[in-house]
Structure formats: C-alpha cells, structure tokens
C-alpha cells in the first residue's frame, strides 16, 4: 500500500489528566483547557468521531463532561472499571470500524501498553502529544465535506434509530413507517460535488458500476444540459442521514441512460435504492422515454443487479439501445426498462425535482 498514514476515524479519549486536568475522584474539580476544547471541536469538524474510555464512576464522569459542555461530542462512551483494551474493542465493533482506524490517547503508559498489547493495530498517543495531534497526517482527512462535519450527529441518530428498532416488534415495513423518513432528490449543484464524489468512492455494495468519478468529470456533467446529476438525501425523526444516493444520467431523445446509480450502504434497508429506481421509472414514463442502466458486475455489487431486476429491468433487445454510445468496458451490461407510472412510496415522503419537460428550478 502507500506510505501515507491511514486516516483515523475515531479517537478514544482517557479523561483524568488527559482530556481534563486533574483526577475526578480525588480532586472533584477538574479543568478543561481551551486548547483541548478547540481540538475536540476541530476533530469533530473533520468528521473524526470521538469516544471515551475512562476508569471512573460513569454517572459522575458523564455529568462532568456535560457540565463542561463537551458531552455531545462523544459517541459510545465507555466509562467503567473494565480494561481499556475491552472498551476500545467494543467501541470499534459498535462503530463497525477496523481497529487500525482507531486511535487512543491516555496519560498513563501502562494503559497505553495494555491497549497496545491486545490490539497492536490501534494507534496510541500520550497525553503530551495532544498539542500536535491536529497537525498529524493521520488526523487530516484528504477532503472535509459538508457531511463530515455532521458525521457524529449522523452516528448518534443511527444509535437512537437502532435502539428504537430493537424495541419495535412487527414487520419491518411497519417500523419504517414509524421513522417518518423524508427523502429528497435534487439536481446537484457545484457545492454538492465533493459529497457526490465521496459517494462514488464510499459506495461499493450499491454501486452499479464500481466506477469512481472525479471532481472535474462531475463538474462537466453538472454543466451539461443533456446530463442529470441527481443527489438524494434522507432524514428521519432521529436526524439527518446526509447525502445517501447519486444518479448520473444522460438524456437522449428516446431513452434515459443511467450511467451510475449508487446509494450508501447505511440506508439500503430503508429502501432508498428501490425508491430512486421507482421514481426514475415514473419520471421516464411521464416523459415517454425508455430507461437503460449500466451495470458492471464487481465482487460486491450483486445487490445492485438484484435491485435493477426487481425494478423490472431486463436484457431485452430494443431499438433505443442504439442511442447512447456503445459501452467502453467489455463486461458492462446495459439493462433495459420500458417504464410505467409507479405509485409513490408507502414508507417515506418523497420531495423530488421534476425531470419532465423544461428544466426545473434548482430549488
């Protein structure tokens, strides 16, 4: 691989004499340095999640974090008398992160050694290194998108959602209805493009071609009147999911050619991919065009093939297939649909731009 350090996705903090000055059980009063407060906010802005592994009384320590006004920054805190190696492993497992994107900071060499012994992949830092952490390459993601700054809130919403689902008994569609999901489909603007680029990079199971598009290509497509670059975002009563789906589509006289459809794996179970496909079919039917969709099998995107087939796409021959340029990639398949009007989705509220007729406003 490359020599550049893998970017840290979650920093796990010790509290006593690391996050704050002092030992809570002994001193009662502890002090949070302004530099540390700034560091916490800065890492949060960069989309790096933060958690806590501290040997303390949970309620006291959490109350102190709340009093200091920083409690909201921390996800999945582990404040107990258990070994910190266990705490770090639990945090990683709940976040579904590999241990090599977890970092741990503690003033005690023995605590760092204990974590390191069990999890050599975890990057451990001494409290004295906190001043330099923001400048270290592993804490500097290549791009900081609008969603990065919201990442922690999205995870927190995700935990609340999961807790609600665990409590809920009944068919999952009934559960989905209780979420109050609102899905938006908008034409991408220049400002959305870093999020769009990120989606082409981060999606794999639900990416129809596995092709990643770069910023310059996307800018050209946004400016091209014969192309649509559509961004989907989703929110529910627990909070925002951010940008979760993307469609790149060329509009020809008789056929709309879907060159890429990708949705975030986080929201597959919510029916985002199916809703997007149904909506495209409905818009196509109203406009009187057929749909063609590129699909390039990868080792991970079979779900996308199934999604297209379930939406009615086939390998059938049709004259409309001559309109787009022939595929450049040998294994690329082009699936065909003669769309018919579809009912609006039952489990969510959809606000979508209109693709029929004259170009719609960019709302």
């Amino acid at each position: 691989m490359t020599a550049t350090a893998k970017v840290v996705k979650c920093l796990v903090w010790d509290l006593d004499n690391t996050l704050w000055k002092g030992t809570l059980v002994e001193d009662g009063d502890v002090v949070l340095d302004e530099q540390i407060r700034d560091l916490i906010a800065e890492l949060d802005r960069r989309g790096i999640l933060q958690s806590v592994a501290s040997k303390n009384d949970h309620d006291n320590a959490w109350a102190k974090l709340e009093a200091l006004g920083v409690a909201d920054y921390f996800v999945l805190p582990r404040i107990s008398w258990n070994p910190k190696s266990a705490a770090v492993a639990e945090i990683a497992a709940e976040l579904n992160f590999a241990l090599d994107v977890i970092a741990f900071v503690d003033d005690q060499p023995t605590e760092r050694a204990e974590v390191q012994f069990h999890h050599p992949e975890v990057r451990c830092y001494a409290a004295e290194q906190l001043g330099e952490i923001a400048a270290r390459p592993e804490f500097r993601p290549a791009t900081v998108t609008a969603d990065a700054g919201n990442r922690r809130k999205m995870y927190q919403a995700g935990f609340r959602r999961k807790a609600a689902e665990a409590e809920f008994r009944g068919p999952s569609e009934d559960f989905l209805r209780t979420l109050g999901m609102v899905m938006r489909i908008d034409r991408a603007t220049e400002a959305d493009l870093s999020r769009v680029e990120e989606l082409t990079l981060r999606t794999s199971q639900m990416n129809a071609t596995g092709v990643h598009y770069h910023r310059a290509e996307l800018t050209a497509l946004v400016d091209d009147p014969d192309h649509e670059v559509l961004v989907t975002s989703l929110s529910d009563r627990f909070g925002p999911h951010g940008a979760v789906g993307l469609v790149l589509m060329a509009k020809h006289a008789r056929v709309w050619h879907i060159r890429l459809l990708a949705t975030s794996c986080r929201v597959v179970a919510f029916g985002v991919g199916s809703t997007l496909l149904n909506w495209l079919a409905d818009e196509g039917a109203r406009t009187g065009v057929h749909l063609l969709a590129d699909f390039l099998p990868t080792t991970r995107n079979r779900m996308m093939d199934v999604a297209y087939r379930f939406a009615g796409f086939t390998d059938d021959h049709c004259d409309c297939r001559t309109e787009p340029k022939p595929a450049e990639l040998p294994d690329l398949r082009r699936l065909h649909l003669i769309p018919s009007p579809t009912d609006p989705p039952a489990t969510l509220t959809l606000h979508a731009v209109s693709l029929t007729g004259a170009p719609a406003g960019r709302s």
Binding site: R169, G170, P171, S172, E173, M206, V268, A269, F270, G271, G273, S274, T275, N278, R302, M303, M304, D305, V306, A307, R309, F310, A311, G312, T314, D315, P345, A346, T347
Partner: protein, 89 residues
C-alpha cells in the same frame, strides 16, 4: 444433490418469510403489493433461496415476478434445482 419437493420448498420459504416479517405469509400473498421491498430485502430473498436450495439465480431469472409470492418462488426453485438440467442463457 437432493431434490426438494414443492411442499418442502413452500414450507422452507414460508418459514423464512414468517421469521422475517413476524407474521405468517399465505402462499399467494403478493409481497410487493403492500408497498416497497427494499433492495436489501430483495437480496436477502435471493441469497436465502440460493443457499437453502443450493442453486444459482442469475440474469433474467432475477425478475421480480419470480419473487412475487411464495408460490412463484417455489416454481422458480423447482425449475432451477440442480438435478433438473436446465440450460442457462
């Protein structure tokens, strides 16, 4: 490779769906009529059928009508069962 009878296939699929939706599903109930089937649920169905009955479902066989009811899935499984020689396009 053992062959499954139609009633065995129906029963297997019925059990899978009952566990998945917490409710008994009649063999003729249209799974898509009640609203949206997410891509993940579609994928679960496909993978379940492939693993439970040791077969592969590819290309045109993935069409939605084949998965509409327990009965249509049973027909698909019986048609694709390994011992039955069936030319795959």
């Amino acid at each position: 490779m053992s062959q499954f009878s139609a009633s065995e296939v129906e029963r297997h699929i019925g059990q899978f769906l009952a566990a998945r939706v917490n409710d008994d599903v009649p063999v003729d109930r249209d799974l898509f009529a009640s609203g949206l089937v997410s891509s993940m649920f579609a994928m679960e169905l496909v993978v379940f059928l492939e693993q439970a009955f040791a077969l592969e479902i590819l290309g045109e066989d993935l069409k939605r009508d084949n998965f509409r009811t327990i009965r249509s899935m049973t027909d698909l499984v019986l048609r694709l069962q390994p011992a039955e020689t069936h030319a795959e396009a």
